[in-house]
C-alpha cells in the first residue's frame, strides 16, 4: 500500500487542534511551550468551550500566546495574571478562565497575586510553566533555579548563601485552603504528555464546577537558555529537575 492510499481523511488519527492557528510560533525549536499550547487547545476543544474560554497571558515567553490560540485573551501586567483572572471569573462565572504563566511571572514578580488568588479559592485554573530560568530576557536566574545551576546572572552556579533556595510554589499552593487541585506534571515523553493533558482537563473542569483554584505546574525545558539541544535538555531535566521537583498530584480535593 502506498503512502498516497493511506493519507485519506477517513484514516486520520492525529492532527493539531483547530483552535491552534497557522501562525508560526516564535518559540525556540523544541520549546515545551508549544506542547503545552497544543494541550490547552485540545482540552478546550474537547470540552466544547471554544466560545467561552478566556485565557490570561503572562509576561514572559508566552506573552504572545494570544497569537496562536483562537479564543478570547487578556494580557496582564507582569505577574498580575491571577488578579486579572479573579476579576474576569467573578464577572463572568460561566466562562472558563485560566492563566498561563512562567516561573518568573508566577513565582517571582507575581508571588503575592498568585498566593492570594489561590488562597481566596477563586474558580480559576493556573498553568505554571517551570523551566528554572527567565527564558525571555536572556536566561537569568529565577527563584526556581536549582542550586548549583549556571545561568546568565549566576555564572558560577546558584549559591545558597548568596541567592537562597529554589522556591517550590506548588508545595506552597498545596498547603492553602482555597486550592482544590494541585499537581506537577511534565511534557518530555508521550506518556507524560498524556498525563499532563488529563491534569489540565481536570483543572479546567474544577474551575467550571466551582470547586476552587487549581494549579498545574509543568516542569519544562528551556533548551536555548540552558544551552543544550532539545533532546539533551529533556534528559537534563529528568536527571536534575525531577529529584527537586518530583512529579505527581500534591492535592486532589474531591
Amino acid at each position: 500500500m502506498t503512502k498516497e492510499n493511506i493519507i485519506k481523511p477517513e484514516n486520520l488519527v492525529y492532527k493539531k487542534s483547530t483552535l491552534l492557528n497557522d501562525n508560526a510560533m516564535h518559540y525556540c525549536p523544541g520549546c515545551s511551550h508549544g506542547v503545552v499550547h497544543k494541550l490547552v487547545a485540545e482540552v478546550i476543544e474537547e470540552m466544547g468551550m471554544e466560545e467561552k474560554a478566556i485565557g490570561i497571558s503572562p509576561v514572559g515567553c508566552a506573552v504572545f500566546m494570544y497569537n496562536y490560540l483562537d479564543i478570547d485573551w487578556e494580557e496582564a501586567a507582569h505577574g498580575r495574571a491571577p488578579a486579572v483572572a479573579s476579576a474576569i471569573k467573578r464577572l463572568w462565572p460561566d466562562r472558563l478562565v485560566f492563566t498561563y504563566q512562567g516561573d518568573g511571572d508566577l513565582a517571582c514578580i507575581g508571588t503575592a497575586e498568585t498566593i492570594h488568588a489561590l488562597n481566596r479559592g477563586e474558580n480559576i485554573a493556573i498553568i505554571f510553566i517551570n523551566n528554572a530560568i527567565y527564558g525571555m530576557t536572556g536566561g537569568q536566574m529565577a527563584p526556581t533555579t536549582l542550586v548549583g545551576m549556571r545561568t546568565a546572572t549566576c555564572p558560577y552556579g546558584r549559591d545558597v548563601h548568596l541567592h537562597g533556595y529554589p522556591l517550590k510554589m506548588t508545595e506552597i499552593a498545596a498547603t492553602l485552603e482555597g486550592t482544590c487541585y494541585v499537581t506537577r506534571q511534565s511534557v518530555h515523553t508521550v506518556a507524560a504528555i498524556r498525563k499532563a493533558k488529563k491534569a489540565i482537563r481536570k483543572a479546567f473542569e474544577n474551575s467550571m464546577n466551582g470547586k476552587g483554584s487549581s494549579l498545574v505546574e509543568i516542569v519544562s525545558t528551556c533548551n536555548s537558555g540552558w544551552k543544550m539541544s532539545p533532546a539533551a535538555a529533556n534528559k537534563w531535566m529528568e536527571e536534575n529537575m525531577f529529584p527537586y521537583y518530583p512529579l505527581g498530584d500534591l492535592k486532589d480535593k474531591e
Binding site: 488519527v13 492525529y14 492532527k15 508560526a24 520549546c31 506542547v35 508521550v190
Partner: protein, 75 residues
C-alpha cells in the same frame, strides 16, 4: 494477520528541526533532512523508511509546533 500501516505528513515550513520527534519515534524511522532546508533555514523532519510506520502518533504528540499529521489504516 491484519497489519497496521501508518503515514505521516510533515508541515515542512512550520517545522523548526528540533528533532524531538526523531527521539520519540519508537521505530526509529524519522530523521532530519541532511541537505534540504525550509524557507527559514531549518532542516526538517522526514520519514526515512517509507513502509515501516505504524501510525502510533508519538512524533505528532511530542511535536511542539504541531507540524505532524498522522494517518493510519488496517490492511
Amino acid at each position: 494477520m491484519a497489519t497496521i500501516k501508518g503515514a505521516i505528513v510533515v508541515d515542512t515550513e512550520r517545522c523548526k528541526g528540533c528533532s524531538l520527534c526523531v527521539v520519540a519515534c519508537p521505530l526509529n524511522i524519522l530523521a532530519l533532512t541532511q541537505k534540504e532546508v525550509n524557507k527559514k533555514g531549518y532542516p526538517y523532519a522526514s520519514q526515512i523508511e517509507e513502509d515501516k510506520c505504524n501510525g502510533c502518533s508519538s512524533c505528532a504528540i511530542v511535536c511542539p509546533d504541531g507540524c505532524i499529521t498522522v494517518y493510519k489504516t488496517k490492511l
